[in-house]
Structure formats: structure tokens, C-alpha cells
Symmetry: C2
Subunit: 369 residues, 2 copies
């Protein structure tokens, strides 16, 4: 498979820095992908997203299949043209949102059936349909297999069943995807907090062969400590020469710990969702701009980040915008947060390249309050 | 008075094109001022506002005196520094919003007393306090006198009383303002739809002497036709060598008619408010992007306008954003609308400079549907 070239340029312990090359451009790893949920990174223009440092964004199959519909996106030229983002896009399979957002969902061997949270309409998502939506209609650069993701804690037999169903769906997705010159397909490791199940999952995926491998089924209720324990073994079970993507993660501290353990890619709703709720992420931890202590604080959120929202506006002004319910407050805080997350990834890449990730990690946790 | 230089560079009938020079930069006239109500042009960054073509924005004394409070804005360096707009700012006096937004308001010879629509707190606004807020605390480049503005229709004696109270307040504002090197003070003509009252108002203001003159008390319920009739005489009653500012106006058709009759400056909430509600202004009139006919329309709103929101995004995408309730839809439509209004003013300036405003006006009305 050559649709996706992955070159590791530096390692530091288990951590790797590298570059993924796609037909639509390079992705510096470790990479954070802002969420372009329903065809937009919420509150931001694509130029703001790019200026914040993002190389790739994520599109949600679930949201786009409900509205505006994948056939319509295809008629409008695909997701890149539709939202004016010419760089790489990874789409998820739709499975996770079906189980977390849809009104009713039912999983069988063949498919997941659900009702839309928007209008209650019934939809069926098979592994083959998920691939068709992502690869043929949305034109994603990186396509994810359909999997079954459980909330944790879950009983052991259910976790094993979901992992094995996901493995069988991985084979169907791979068959449906075929071989493509300009698009890549990722398999998703499942198995909850069980090392044997994660090992079996990885082995089954590797036997099929994918362009990259995701770690699914974490950050679903198990907590930071349990997630870190799973990450002590889960990434190493996946091929070292392919990107490893930890889905739906996370807070800055999660990102640092996962990179430390060998993860290369991330996505999370956090920077934009926090931004819409008045919260800014900083090297000292999250701060709520609504807090009265910022009312006359003339300092910017972070003068070292090359983003107008981080560098040029005072906290006093952001405080005012949040208090007054101004949309501009949501825009600026979303923008800053994406820039902060991208800045964190750049800092991690730099620390790996200079073999000082251990010190960076200690300093990072000491500063986060 | 030299705080504000006004140079008429071309005339076409009653219409004038020119340049106002302030210590913070030039304002090309006829000028449209986007509303920076509560310290932000709603949903837009100042860079987007500037890129859309605005030379000057308006700040609302009423909103800013309630939140964050003018003394706080002063401590934070004034309104320009607070919101990061280094160019000219005109502030209104607060009078209009007190009467339209405050819970309870009472006008006496001395002051207007009101309760905040935010928290019910009692405030007193005298002519002197309005000048202090605008000139000394917010640091406005153009300061407006406090006036009494009535909704129309209103009984003749009430209109006359309000005009004469406004004239007495104009004198108090002028005394409080004194002489300033870098800030200008505008008087406001009142008198409803009565030519004799507007004449008396203008004479009283001119006797006091102001840097510019506003036409107040229009666009308050009288309708486009009645407003145009008032504009047949109201601007000509004001000095030709000073800018004339029609407050709170208006729709594109209102702007064209007022410029035709000799008005130089405008402000209106319309472009940003419409944008937040899915409406785009175009040369063919307003369009609602929610309409299903745009669902697969790949054309941009206006490829001739040098603004990303007008030129680069398809109507299909804007339709999707509006339908999905995405903040980005509000941002892009607000941005386009401000750019459209600024583009209209630039077109009017060009038509005046080339003595073809009559033809422009006919074409404009023929296209607007």
C-alpha cells in the first residue's frame, strides 16, 4: 500500500516524531486533528484552522450522512471542496456517534441500525456503506473501518464480542475499500482494558493489513489512569512502521502521556467545545474566562503562540465577550484552543526530535495545575 | 475646530463624495459604519471588519456603560485598545438605546433616568455624563450629543418638545466637550417629519457650531417613503462643509436614496443582525440562505466582492451551515453582509466621482427585487 507514506524522523523512548505524506499534503506527527464535525470546525474558518497549525482535520460520517447527506456532498465535489479545506481529511466510520448520539441503535452481525437524533429517520450503516460514504462520497484521505465501541466499564464477554465483531467488520471494510492509490484505510484495535483482547485484535488487523492502526474504545469512561495503563501495551501491539491513532483523545495531559507511549495521531472535540463555553487551555491548565479575576487582566492568553486569539487580545476583553455572550468570544477561544493544542503537538515533536521528551513531560505536568 | 477635517472631492447633484480625516485615520464618504455594539462587531474579528472595507465603526454608549462599564474601559486603555480597533470610532450618546432597550426610562430637563435591561440597576445619563463617557472614558474619535429620539408617529407638540430639549442638551454637550484637538463632536437634528421643526433644529445647532451634524429621529417607524420625503429637505438644512450623518439607517435602498439626497455617513445593525439570522444582502436584494433552492448551488454569494465570505464559499455550503445551526454560518454571513454594505458605499463613491449616480441609482433599484 502506498496511499500513505509514514516516515519516522526521530524517536525518544517509545515516542516517535514523523511525517505522514498523503496526496493532499503532509501531516506532522504527533498530530492533533481538530473536529470538523458537520462540515465545519465549529466557529472557525478553515483559514483560521490552518493558521492555528492544523495539518489535517476530522469529518464525522454520522453527522454528514444525516445532513447534508453524503450523496449531496459528493455532488458538490466532496468534503474538501464543500468546506474549502484542501488538505488531508480523516473521516470516522460513524459507528461511535451512532452509539453515543443516535436515538435508538441496534447492532447485528450485518450492520448497525439507528434513528437520527435530528429527525428520527431510520438509517442502516453496514461496513460497506461506511466505506462508500467515506471513500467514494466524502472523498476522505484517511478512511476508518466501521467498529463497535463500547462505553466502559463493560462486562468481559461483551468487550470480547465487540472486538471480534469489529475484526470481522475490518475484513469487510478492507474488501469493500479494495486498493486505492490516493486514499488510506485504517483498522481499529478494540478490546477494552484487556491486554489479551487488544493483542488478539491487533493480530487480526495486522493479518488483514492496513495503512494505519487506531486504538479505539478508550477515553470512554475508564479515566486517565486506566487509559494510561492500557496505553502501556496497546500501541506496542501495533506495527511500528505505521501511524497509530488514539481516537477521541483528549486533554493535554492525555496527549502527552499517549505520545510518551508511542501514539502518533489524535482527535478531540475539546478545544472547540471548551472554547464555546468560555474555557481556554493553557500551559497552566484550563481557565474559565468568565471568572471575575480576568476582568481587568491586560495580558493575552499566550504571547508565545503565533495566533491572534492567543497573542493579541487581552484576557479582560475575552472576559467581557464571554460575559456579554458575544459570538466573537466563542470564536476567539475556539481559535486559541486549537492553536494551543497544535502548539502542544509542535512542542512534543520538538522534544522528541531533541531527545528531551522525559524532561518536557515532567515540566508539563508540573506546570499544569 | 480642526479635530475633524472634511474634504468634499466630488459632487453629483445633492450627493457628495469625500474624505473625513481624523487623528486615527481617514474615513471615505459616503461611509457605512458597522455596529460594534458592546465592544465587538457581532461575530467578527476586527481584522475581518477592516478587510470587509470599513474605515470606522460605531460603539454604543448604552451597552458599554452597562457592561463592562466606561470607567473599566478607560482603565483598560480606552475602547480602541480594548477591542483592538486602531481606526476611528464614533460613539452614540446612549439616548436612543435608553429609550428603546432600557426597562424603564424617564426624561427630565436634566437627564434621562433608566433601569438596565441586564440587571435592572438604576442609571442616570445627563448630557455631561454622556460626553464624559464617550470622550474621556471610551476615547471616541467622534462623539454624539445626547438627544431625545421619539418613535414615529408622534404628536406634533411632543416632536417639537423633544427637538427643543435636544437643542438645549446640545448646548450643554458642547459646553462639556469644550475644545479638543483630536476628538470631534456632532450635533443631532431632530424634528420628526416637520420641515419647520427640522429647520429650527438645524439653526440652533449651527449657531452652537459642531464638527458634524447628524439627522436623528428617522427610520423609527415612518417607512421608506416618509423618510425619503424628510430627506428631501433635512440634509440641505445642515452646513455643506460638514459631514452629515443619518443615524440608524439602513437597508441598501435607504442608503442609496439618502446618499442621493446629500447624506455622508450611516450606521445600522442590519448587516450583522441579518447575518446571524441566515440572511444575505445582495445586489438582487436580500436572500434567505435557509431556502432549499440553495442546497446544491455551487455559486458564491458575490464573486466580485473581495471578501472570502462573499467570494469563496458556495451558497450550498452556507445553506448547510445555516440549516445545521453552525456558528460559522453566522460568521460568514455577517462578514459577507458587512462587505456587501461597504462595497455598496464604494460603488456609490465611484458613481459620484464619475457623475453617474443617477444611472447607478436607477440600475440599483431595477436589480433589487
Amino acid at each position: 500500500m502506498t496511499a500513505l507514506d509514514f516516515r519516522v524522523t526521530a524517536t525518544d523512548g517509545a515516542a516517535r516524531a514523523g511525517v505522514i505524506t498523503t496526496s493532499r499534503g503532509e501531516i506532522r506527527t504527533p498530530a492533533f486533528m481538530p473536529l470538523g464535525t458537520a462540515g465545519a470546525v465549529k466557529a472557525l474558518t478553515v483559514d483560521q484552522v490552518r493558521d492555528a497549525g492544523a495539518d489535517i482535520i476530522l469529518g464525522n460520517t454520522y453527522h454528514l450522512m444525516l445532513r447534508p447527506g453524503p450523496e449531496r456532498v459528493a455532488r458538490l465535489g466532496g468534503l474538501h471542496a464543500f468546506m474549502r479545506w484542501p488538505r488531508p481529511i480523516l473521516t470516522d466510520s460513524g459507528g461511535f456517534q451512532v452509539m453515543s448520539l443516535a436515538k435508538i441503535s441496534k447492532v447485528t452481525e450485518d450492520a448497525v441500525t439507528f434513528r437520527s437524533h435530528i429527525d428520527g429517520a431510520r438509517h442502516v450503516l453496514t461496513p460497506e456503506r461506511s466505506i462508500e460514504i467515506q471513500a467514494d462520497l466524502l472523498h476522505a484521505d484517511i478512511v476508518m473501518q466501521l467498529d463497535q465501541c463500547l462505553a466502559l466499564p463493560a462486562e468481559a464477554p461483551r468487550v470480547a464480542d465487540a472486538m471480534r465483531l469489529s475484526a470481522r467488520w475490518a475484513a469487510r471494510c478492507k474488501a469493500a475499500f479494495g486498493t486505492r492509490e490516493r486514499q488510506a484505510l485504517f483498522g481499529i484495535q478494540q478490546g477494552g482494558l484487556s491486554e489479551p483482547l487488544r493483542r488478539e485484535s491487533a493480530e487480526r488487523l495486522v493479518e488483514l493489513g492496513f495503512d494505519g492502526y487506531a486504538i479505539g474504545g478508550l477515553a470512554v469512561g475508564e479515566g486517565h489512569g486506566a487509559m494510561c495503563e492500557a496505553l502501556d501495551y496497546a500501541p506496542a501491539l501495533l506495527p511500528a512502521d505505521r501511524p497509530r491513532y488514539l481516537m477521541g483523545v483528549g486533554k493535554p495531559a492525555d496527549l502527552v502521556e499517549a505520545v510518551w507511549r508511542g501514539v502518533d495521531m489524535f482527535d478531540c472535540v475539546l478545544p472547540t467545545r471548551s472554547g464555546r463555553h468560555g474555557q481556554a487551555w493553557t500551559w497552566e491548565g484550563p481557565v474559565n474566562l468568565k471568572n471575575a479575576r480576568f476582568a481587568e487582566d491586560l495580558e493575552p492568553l499566550d504571547p508565545t503562540i503565533d495566533c491572534p486569539a492567543s497573542r493579541d487580545y487581552s484576557k479582560a476583553y475575552l472576559h467581557h465577550l464571554v460575559k456579554a455572550g458575544e459570538i466573537l468570544g466563542q470564536v476567539l477561544l475556539s481559535w486559541h484552543n486549537v492553536a494551543f493544542f497544535e502548539n502542544l503537538m509542535a512542542s512534543l515533536r520538538g522534544a522528541i526530535a531533541e531527545s528531551r521528551l522525559g524532561a518536557f513531560r515532567s515540566d508539563f505536568h508540573a506546570r499544569q495545575s
